[in-house]
Amino acid sequence: MIALQQVDPNGSRPAGDALITATDLHKRFGASVALQGLSLEIRGGEVVAVLGPSGSGKSTLLLCLAGIIAPDTGEVAFRGRTLGGLSDTALTRLRRDEFGFVFQFGQLVPELTAIDNVGLPLRLAGLKGHDAEARARSWLERLDVLDVADKRAGDMSGGQAQRVAVARALVTGPRALFADEPTGSLDSLNGEMVMDLLVSAARDNGTTVVLVTHEARIAAYADREIVIRDGKLAPAAVLV
């Protein structure tokens, strides 16, 4: 038998080296409560899976942590800076320069080629066309999709498109990557390939990953999991 005890999910974590801190987040959408008093810490370089049933608030949490939506009350801090205290411009810059995003589908521009899609955030950040293309090419190679560099996103398979999306999310060298069901539209083998490449690339770059998933097999790529239920963290069961 295995002995377990219930602990506060962040209680045993060392304080002080948190990259992302959420404190007492509350968020409602009309009558529906998405988050109710959720607090957590994520350290730099960690790969953390966020698990929970449908409607538990895990995607809302991801959007709050990434500064895409603001909580009704409570605070999110990134490297000690409170997101709620930033101007819209500063927040947009933070998202562009420090964050990467991968969603279940639809994040590529279908009319653009793979290489233009991956180069897009670099051009937005002011990089010259040639440099942006060279860096985009090296990321496509790393994600093993260089062969579709000149294909339009709309003409790629789901697995190829997700790998291009991961390349685009990581090409700017973000400190944090936010991924919401990144393998949700893929078959098992393509999902595994995307997760392998995503996690390896993130670890090589020291990128922190927050990964929302409902699949335990996908969560098993993470260093640890947090479980959300009814907008709150479920107490974590740890081995003693």
């Binding site: 038998m1 295995i2 377990l4 392998d196 098993a220 999991e225 479980v227 239920r229 069961a237 740890v238």
Partner: protein
């Protein structure tokens, strides 16, 4: 397989006779193999020796199966401890996992607590398998996939079982008005 804990679980809501315990056990946990009367009575004798159960009454008419068994506070405490302990994630523990989850759910214990505890233990093993798969050869990958999908299936089954029991409970509440 912990027959003793399964019997304690079946005795938790009310006292029962040995033959009734055998029938219930076969119905709920037996699958294609029924448990032998001998095993039931040996286990009941051990539980009684360990003060987990007691005899509430002996009905006239003779025969060992006329005893009415009753769970003791020690038995309830032992059952409680066993039910909340997650199972080691091995293929051989699956039958125990099944029995434990069914007993916990039908006795009204919250499904999500069982799921969360079991998932924490399963994920430790799933991480090791994922790492082994990433660094191993094709044979490793195939073997790890086999384990990973079965472990994931355990968790999905606990979740579904919990939802099913909760829906049934909600329906019962509604029909009672």
């Amino acid at each position: 397989m912990s027959l003793g804990h399964a019997l304690l679980g079946l005795l938790e809501d009310r006292p029962r006779h040995g033959y009734e315990l055998k029938r219930l056990y076969d119905d709920r946990f037996g699958g294609s193999q029924s448990v032998k009367f001998g095993q039931i009575y040996t286990t009941l004798a051990r539980l009684r020796r360990d003060e987990m159960i007691d005899i509430a009454a002996v009905e006239s008419g003779g025969g060992p199966d006329r005893k009415l068994y009753l769970i003791t506070p020690t038995g309830v405490a032992d059952l409680e401890r066993w039910l909340v302990e997650p199972e080691p994630p091995t293929r051989y523990a699956r039958k125990v996992l099944f029995t434990k989850v069914v007993l916990a759910l039908i006795s009204g214990r919250p499904a999500h607590e069982i799921l969360d505890a079991q998932r924490a233990v399963h994920l430790i093993q799933m991480r090791e398998l994922t790492e082994r798969k990433r660094s191993g050869d094709l044979t490793d990958a195939l073997a790890c996939d086999f384990e990973l999908f079965h472990l994931e299936a355990d968790l999905r089954w606990i979740e579904l079982a919990g939802d099913r029991v909760e829906r049934l409970r909600a329906d019962l509440m509604t029909s009672r008005g």
